[in-house]
């Protein structure tokens, strides 16, 4: 037994700030102080504190330290670990109180942790810590007590919807694949997270990779697949390493492989790395990429649950969707529905970026309002500035303005106003920013990422960019604003895949609420001339 556990957040953010050197220094100082038998240093996923440098937490006191430098380590050891005095100058006290009610998910202020329940609590490189937190119980339950159709029915009943952005009912998707008669079926975890501002899947994979493995195995059992691929974005080196380690450990423990839990079910996983194309997050382009082809979307229908990888029935689920599954199976559909609203059950993981005091990874129940997210969880907009707009769901996300601050965030409410929850990126923009410049920035991204397969997207993004540049250069005319709107609408209707269809969403959103800002660029030269005269 170790009397003290020091959890150090090891995610891409903290590593960039020197988490490895701090950890090495901790180990060195602990062995100098002959404390290695009493104190255990545990690498964990994100602790949910961002832009605050290296973050660690000392248990059992549950004291958080942020901005820890190598030279602070000896003080923490001599003061806190030996004498029990908290090093107040490094203490991070802004931790919302955790509340855990019987049978409910833990709450951190307005946040509710289901998907992130283990992130920042367990060592993701240690399967036993996942098991200690009820890991692989759902798999054991499903394989020993449930039929595949029971698993599908539980997921259907829970109302879980795909967390990649489309919010398609997961159970229904599974049913399509389960019905197909085929010797081979495949499960794919879509971890090609490429939406700018979105990094939830990375932090889930870094913080709790076994939850994703268990979710994939449950999916495999439900639809009758024995093979899965985790398609991870190539830049996510740490996610890839942690996932590989987790797969290896699961195999060693017989939680992947042949006849798991003495059942007739066998399941194994392999990682495939993406090579940096945004389009490969689209499921059929992703499938093409796994097959070794150029990442371009396929014609639909047929959809992947009938004809997918190598022509076989294939389920493609997002990381967050999969990470929800173990708890839905072990705690039941009713438990899952206890969070969120009737039509949008459960929680949603967001990454909050932009002009916000407390950016980062959050998990909130569906139906929360934008005001609560921005002003309570995110602690508001810095420098006393006002709220201009929020973009929900990454670059292709819809635009929300101050009139939407009190709208409950549900799939159906957002759909009604032409927006969506999307991938979970929430960009907050303050009132000192230029809307037209923001739109130009989105369009530059789409223009770069368009795969070029269809004319509307390839040419459309290019022409949109030209028109916007014309405006910002002061050469624009009023009819250009109308042209931007027309072109965006045509792209939305006619583009081949989700990229070209969704690219116009933020453009049209900004035009709808801030048309005057676009027109101002046209009028500007006249204003300048008037001043000269």
């Amino acid at each position: 037994m170790h009397r003290i556990h020091i959890l150090i957040a090891m995610d891409a953010h903290t590593i960039a700030q020197g988490a490895h050197s701090v950890k090495d220094e901790l180990q060195r100082e602990l062995s100098l102080a002959a404390l290695t038998d009493e104190v255990r240093v545990v690498e964990t996923g994100s602790l949910g504190i961002y832009n605050k440098g290296v973050v660690l937490v000392v248990f059992p006191d549950a004291v958080y330290y942020a901005g820890v430098k190598v030279e602070d380590v000896s003080e923490i050891i001599s003061e806190h670990l030996i004498k029990g005095r908290i090093v107040e100058r490094l203490q991070y006290a802004d931790i919302p109180e955790t509340k855990e009610e019987e049978g409910k998910a833990p709450r951190f202020g307005k946040q509710v942790r289901v998907v992130l329940k283990n992130a920042g609590i367990i060592d993701p490189d240690n399967i036993e810590e996942y098991i200690a937190h009820d890991g692989y119980e759902a798999m054991g339950k499903a394989l020993t007590e449930m039929k595949p159709e029971d698993v599908i029915n539980t997921v259907k009943e829970s109302g879980l919807q795909g967390r990649g952005g489309a919010f398609f009912p997961t159970g229904m998707k599974w049913e399509f694949a389960a019905r197909e008669k085929s010797e081979e079926k495949y499960i794919i975890c879509n971890a090609d997270e490429g939406e700018p501002g979105t990094f939830k899947d990375r932090l889930i994979l870094e913080g709790d990779p076994h939850a994703v493995i268990e979710g994939m195995a449950l999916t495999g059992y439900a639809v009758g697949a024995n093979k899965g691929f985790v398609y991870i974005r190539g830049e996510y080196k740490m996610s890839i390493n942690r996932m590989q380690k987790a797969i290896d450990q699961a195999r060693e423990h017989g939680l992947l492989g042949k006849n798991i839990f003495n059942s007739s079910f066998s399941f194994d996983l392999e990682i495939r790395e993406g090579a940096g194309a945004y389009i490969c997050g689209e499921e059929t382009a992703l499938i093409e990429s796994i097959e070794g082809k150029r990442g371009e979307p396929r014609d639909k229908p047929p959809f992947p649950p009938s004809v997918g990888l190598w022509g076989k029935p294939t389920i493609v689920n997002n990381v967050e969707t999969l990470a929800n599954l173990p708890q839905i199976i072990s705690k039941g559909a009713a438990w899952y529905k206890s969070n969120g609203t009737e039509k949008s059950p459960g929680t949603k993981v967001f990454t909050m970026v932009g002009n916000i005091k407390n950016p980062g990874l959050i998990e909130v129940p569906m139906g929360i309002t934008l005001r609560e997210i921005i002003y309570e969880v995110g602690q508001g907009i810095p420098d006393g500035k006002g709220f201009l707009l929020a973009q929900m769901g990454g670059t292709t996300g819809g635009i929300l303005t101050s009139e939407h601050l009190d709208l409950p965030m549900t799939v159906e409410n957002l759909r009604e106003i032409g927006a969506g929850l999307g991938s979970g990126a929430l960009l907050v923009v303050d009132d000192s920013q230029d809307v037209v410049d923001l739109v130009k920035n989105f369009v530059e991204f789409f223009n770069h990422e368009s795969c070029g397969k269809c004319t509307l997207c390839r040419e459309g993004t290019g022409r949109l960019l030209e028109l916007l540049e014309k405006l910002t250069d002061g050469r624009g005319e009023l009819k250009d604003v109308d042209l931007i709107e027309d072109l965006a609408k045509v792209m939305m209707k006619g583009a081949f895949c989700g990229l070209g269809q969704a690219a116009p969403v933020p453009i049209l959103g900004c035009l709808r609420y801030f048309r005057g800002e676009f027109e101002k660029y046209v009028k500007k030269p006249q204003v300048a001339q008037a001043a000269v005269a």
């Binding site: 037994m1 009397r3 959890l7 255990r40 059992p60 004498k83 423990h253 839990f261």
Partner: protein, 120 residues
């Protein structure tokens, strides 16, 4: 992994080492580790407590430390706190007495009055 029992065996073992990360442990044993406490031998007392807890396979206790309580002549001091019960403070706790306290207070739930230091 062949049975659920195999899984639960791993779970119990791993949970034991992770107990200090839970806030739900029944007993919280707090050793005073100010300069006075350390000088009086608090470190040896703490090691004895940890050793005894391990030997007896006690899972629902965590060991933590605090600073000087202001009764330096009574060091080493330990406090045992339990939810909804009064915290008990023991004074002049040598490693041997520490083992006795673990056996009496934590294992058998009996306060060892002869070692109790009355703070009031």
């Amino acid at each position: 992994m062949k049975t659920l029992a195999d899984l639960r065996a791993i779970k119990e073992k791993a949970k034991q080492d992770m107990a200090s990360r839970e806030k739900t442990a029944k007993y919280r044993i707090i050793v005073s580790m100010g300069t006075c406490g350390i000088a009086a031998g608090a470190r040896a007392t703490m090691s004895a407590i940890i050793d005894e807890l391990n030997k007896r396979n006690i899972k629902d206790a965590i060991v933590t430390q605090t600073g000087c309580l202001g009764y330096c002549d009574q060091e080493p001091m330990i406090q045992i706190s339990q939810a909804s019960k009064q915290t008990i403070t023991y004074g002049k706790v040598t490693p041997e007495i520490a083992r006795e306290i673990i056996n009496g207070h934590v294992v058998n739930d009996k306060v060892l009055t002869n070692y109790v230091f009355n703070l009031s």
